[in-house]
Symmetry: C2
Subunit: 206 residues, 2 copies
């Protein structure tokens, strides 16, 4: 694996830093290719082909493909983790905090679909993937704790354990990545309403 070109190559002949839109575009392409081929099955050659950038041009921007994986995963994980420390997630009745976490999770999935898809496909073969799995586990733990509090406060049913309920609820949300298209389907807010309502009240007419 190349350690990348010397620093001067990361600048334009004028001495300015190369514009970051190339990195953004490269990242978007890489996230798509990782999802299509799997991270292990993607080489820098594949990224070069898909982006139209030469391999040496790619190495002007990044040290290797794992850096692109990290950047892509951060775009999903940062807002997810941030959502757990928002006031609506940390104060008030547990059922309201849970509802907020569900709504935020749907919104993040809708707004950052390719990055969340990448995150949900992570296996754990590299250091970066294991870091992402650790973050996901931390998120799941926070959510399960809120479900447990909601059970304790009597607002969520107690016949299914907190961890299973959390897994099933967020499993339902995450499954939307397979069919949701923000431009073709309902708006993210409406999807969040629908999922929240189905999760809380069920599908049966009462």
């Amino acid at each position: 694996m190349s350690s990348g070109p010397p620093e001067r190559d990361r600048r334009l002949p004028s001495g300015e830093a190369r514009p970051t839109y190339t990195l953004d575009r490269l990242l978007d392409v890489a996230v798509r290719v990782f999802t299509e081929r799997g991270y292990d099955g993607t080489s820098v050659q594949h990224l070069s082909h898909a982006s139209g950038l030469s391999k040496s041009s790619i190495y002007h921007h990044i040290e290797g493909k794992e850096q692109l994986l990290r950047l892509g995963l951060e775009r999903a994980l940062e807002p997810l983790m941030a959502s757990t420390t928002e006031p609506e997630s940390t104060t008030g009745p547990a059922i309201d905090r849970l509802t907020h976490l569900v709504r935020r999770n749907v919104a993040i999935l809708a707004e950052r679909l390719p990055y969340v898809t990448l995150l949900l496909d992570v296996h754990g073969n590299t250091e970066t993937e294991r870091w992402a799995l650790d973050q996901r586990r931390a998120y799941d733990k926070i959510v399960a704790a809120v479900v447990a509090e909601a059970i304790d406060e009597g607002s969520v049913r107690s016949d299914v354990d907190a961890r299973t309920t959390a897994r099933l609820v967020f499993g339902m949300i995450n499954s939307a990545r397979e069919w949701y298209h923000p431009e073709r389907s309902v708006k993210p807010d409406q999807l969040a309403d629908q999922i929240c309502s189905l999760v809380l009240e069920g599908i049966r007419v009462h």
Copy 2:
């Protein structure tokens, strides 16, 4: 791609057909490796390494890796499609038929976890994968039609469209593949009870 060895090689020196347990074992290994590495990223060499069978021995049993993919996918798709024609899925109130389909889907997932996991990871790059996707679409269509009937009969809420409800409900079920272990968790029947109940009644205490 080899077209396989001559027919006589598929028999033991005694003239008997080779025992099928080797094919069963090879299939189990292949399904695991396909899921770990992705189907595209798996070569017959990988299968040879993982199974301890030589490549030529593998070709005694199958024509190529796509045949193993087909056999693996059939183990998930056959019971799923069969569940849609059972009397409980075709007669009676739509809400009861839907409940039966949900319960059967959970049971099949629990009993055939590696095969259902393989099915849910299918992308559609080969003829076999496209066949599997067609089957999944046919299944989804049947399920969505039952949800639509349940909405018409007034037993399932009408504020979310039938297709979205069907996708979210079966998305929740399928997400269990990521954490469910029949030997470590609740029994398949209990999981089916929990999911059915959460789906129908929601998680909130009424």
